[in-house]
């Protein structure tokens, strides 16, 4: 079977592209108030990592149509199915109503201009987590279309992702057979590092993996997986080589502090094995292939990794999306078996 690419980013060419999908009131507001493009500082437009150099078109941008994406990403990697995670900054609005309006427009744009144009494409439902009710409504609105396979939020939003007020969203996702994708990025309600605002973008990007560690702690400690055992969480562009060191520490402290979180009845790694998956890129591994295999051994499971190119972000060169030295068996698991096991809707619709 052909690989399933679990993290591909479609580019919104400009705000104009989604205007047709906005309700008239918002089109009007957009024009009167002179809104800028909704690009997040999590991925500065011209930073080398945001678009790999040979993936930049004449306009400096990555694929902004399904046709361009097929040519740049799906065909070269022989991809059978690709999941689109749109990072246009709808989560960044302070205005909940605006966030809702733009999330709806982005999802409708994805459906009409991407999903309808290439049968290999699937997508995440972008939700305004600023308001649980709005996020729920957007899931209900999009869920009947089985090509939406996941609900997506950013790893750093207003409150830690495990907090109870988010749970209705997670319950809805599980009920509809949608995974919860948590993608790198922040809406900058809080400093982007646990020790404050940083000077350099390099720090911000490196600290994304730190954000995922605290996000996992929150999901586990608050009891999300104890309460919603069917929920599958996919950490997107999180890195994964930090997992062993992190889980060893979390497990040690769980033993000493479980009195305060009695609903966490299993060792944290058991929840991760059952409920949490990681997209492959960026690998951030040891430079020697044999050592990467040892690290994967420390992860105590060959079911955790899901193939991703992270197109158009620059995580590797050429077609080397898979790090060297992995066994054929593990490659098959990462590229096909694990994604199929993770995404219920890929099993329903075929990939």
């Amino acid at each position: 079977m052909r690989p399933i690419d679990c993290d591909v980013h479609p580019t919104v060419p400009s705000l104009k592209a989604i205007v047709p999908y906005l309700e008239p009131m918002w089109r009007d507001i957009l024009e009167r108030r002179g809104l800028d493009e909704l690009h997040s500082i999590s991925y500065p437009s011209n930073a080398p990592i945001t678009v790999r150099n040979d993936w930049r078109g004449a306009n400096g941008k990555a694929a902004s149509t399904a046709e361009e994406l097929a040519k740049a990403c799906l065909d070269p990697f022989g991809t059978g199915t690709a999941i689109l995670n749109c990072l246009y900054g709808v989560q960044l609005f302070y205005n909940e109503d605006m966030a809702r309006a733009f999330a709806r427009a982005v999802n409708d744009w994805i459906r009409a201009e991407w999903l309808d144009r290439d049968p290999r494409l699937r997508a995440s439902i972008v939700v305004p987590m600023q308001n649980t009710e709005f996020a729920l409504a957007e899931i209900e609105r999009c869920a009947p279309d089985k090509r939406f396979v996941q609900v997506m939020m950013l790893v750093s939003e207003e409150t830690p992702p495990g907090r109870r007020h988010h749970w209705p969203v997670y319950e809805a996702a599980a009920r509809h057979g949608l995974t919860l994708g948590i993608h790198a990025g922040s809406n900058y309600r809080n400093p982007p590092s646990p020790v404050g605002w940083t000077t350099y973008y390099t720090e911000d990007y490196v600290n994304q993996s730190v954000a995922f560690q605290t996000a996992l702690s929150s999901l586990i400690a608050e009891g999300v997986f104890a309460r919603i055992p069917d929920l599958k969480v996919v950490l997107l562009e999180s890195g994964f080589t930090w997992l062993p060191g992190y889980i060893w520490r979390l497990t040690k402290f769980w033993k000493g502090t479980r009195q305060e979180i009695p609903w966490v009845t299993e060792p944290p790694m058991d929840y991760i094995r059952r409920n949490v998956r990681f997209s492959l890129q960026p690998v951030d591994g040891p430079p020697v292939p044999a050592e990467l295999n040892r690290l994967i051994e420390h992860m105590d499971s060959d079911e955790l990794l899901l193939f991703s190119t992270d197109y158009p972000h620059w995580q590797f060169d050429g077609l080397d999306a898979l790090p060297p030295g992995l066994s054929a068996d593990l490659v098959r698991k990462i590229t096909v078996d694990n994604p199929m096991a993770t995404y219920a809707r890929l099993r329903e619709t075929g990939s």
Binding site: T159, N190, P194, Y201, A221, G245, T257, D284
Partner: protein, 369 residues
């Protein structure tokens, strides 16, 4: 850690290590600001009593997240006559130094030490008093104990003054900062402290905890103590990332940094990620001459406690193969509840050279004693 609470008060401790060892993290308890009064101006005594330290946290007293144990301490660390843990030198000497065969232990005094006080003038006064107190009450009476220069790090000028006051004093072996400072520790406002440390030939010890006012996660304040405790590891990761990317290690090649009580098993993965991402983004930091991991591997050490506990435990050894066995300094964190005993902290086969490095020689290389 105290998972099962045993009443061991009064029991004779067994000597748990045959090797003479170093301990990179011991906490003498400042039982009350009053013990510092002999070195504290009347003005600050009154100010403290009236207004308190005003940390960047909600509670007037106690930690932001309630601990899992009284005073976060071992149940058996109260003295038979009821003195609190870490407050009595003879008891500490007996229960820790003798029992664990510690020949060199580093004192890291915590609150109310002046660190994290909102009023930096008062913080500086307290830090100076704490440093005098360490010499008068601890190191001058017990040669196995060494002191840390406590500095009011949010005001670099005052911190440098304190460093220069004690530089050259044989009892002080490091300069103490807390990991959760008001800004990431690589930012330029803290550089005068690193310049002074390099000049004094003293390492910077960065102990977990602090009072930054920044939430311990980039999605805000978590609910539970376990999240804060596990979060100390990410604070150290972000702190070291800040120091290396801002160019602290490039600017101060003689600077040594010790990450204290923030875990260690995350360090190899952090280095891999830093190198991988820096390679793509280095146009942003043209002043860096080497890959980030090269700076960290030569200028940073990690104390062991609370040592991670993978199954099988040998994985700690594999992690140290990646990190380098010359980077880890054993520490107990006495008298805290998650104390590591040298006999059990690394429960797998080590070579003699590895054992000597972790339990003694790495400390000697960093602290110079």
């Amino acid at each position: 850690m105290n998972v099962d609470v045993l009443n061991r008060s009064g029991a004779e401790p067994q000597i748990s290590s045959r090797l003479m060892i170093a301990d990179g993290d011991i906490h003498p308890r400042i039982t009350s600001a009053k013990v510092l009064y002999p070195w504290l101006a009347k003005r600050w005594q009154e100010h403290f009593e009236m207004f308190g330290p005003r940390h960047r946290q909600a509670w007037e007293k106690g930690p932001a997240y309630p601990k899992m144990q009284p005073l976060a301490s071992r149940r058996d660390a109260w003295t038979p006559d009821g003195k609190p843990p870490g407050a009595d030198l003879p008891f500490m000497a007996h229960q820790l130094l003798d029992a664990c065969n510690v020949e060199m232990g580093v004192l890291n005094p915590l609150n109310p030490s002046g660190q994290g006080f909102q009023n930096q003038e008062m913080g500086a006064a307290f830090a100076h008093a704490v440093n005098n107190w360490q010499v008068a009450e601890w190191t001058s009476k017990e040669p196995r104990l060494k002191a840390s220069i406590v500095v009011p790090y949010e005001d670099a000028e005052l911190a440098v003054k304190e460093i220069q006051h004690w530089a050259g004093h044989k009892d002080f072996v490091q300069i103490l900062l807390l990991s959760r400072a008001n800004e990431p520790l690589g930012t330029k406002r803290y550089w005068p402290i690193y310049a002074a440390a390099q000049e004094a030939g003293l390492p910077i010890g960065i102990h977990a905890f602090g009072y930054s006012g920044s939430p311990v996660t980039s999605s805000g304040w978590p609910s539970y103590y376990i999240e804060e405790m596990v979060g100390h590891a990410v604070c150290a990761q972000a702190g070291l990332t800040s120091m290396v990317i801002e160019g602290v290690f490039e600017q101060f090649p003689g600077l040594k940094v010790i990450s204290i009580e923030a875990g260690v098993s995350w360090a190899p993965a952090l280095m891999w990620r830093l190198d991988a991402q820096w390679k793509k983004l280095k146009a942003e930091t043209p002043f860096l001459k080497k890959a980030p991991s090269e700076y960290l591997r030569s200028q940073v050490w990690w104390t062991s406690q609370p040592i991670e506990e993978p199954e099988p435990r040998e994985r700690i050894g594999e992690m140290l193969d990646w990190l380098g066995w010359d980077r880890l300094i054993f520490a107990t964190d006495y008298p805290h509840w998650d104390f590591d005993d040298p006999a059990f902290a690394l429960p797998f086969r080590l070579t003699d050279a590895q054992r000597r490095a972790v339990f003694r020689e790495n400390a000697r290389a960093v602290y110079g004693c």
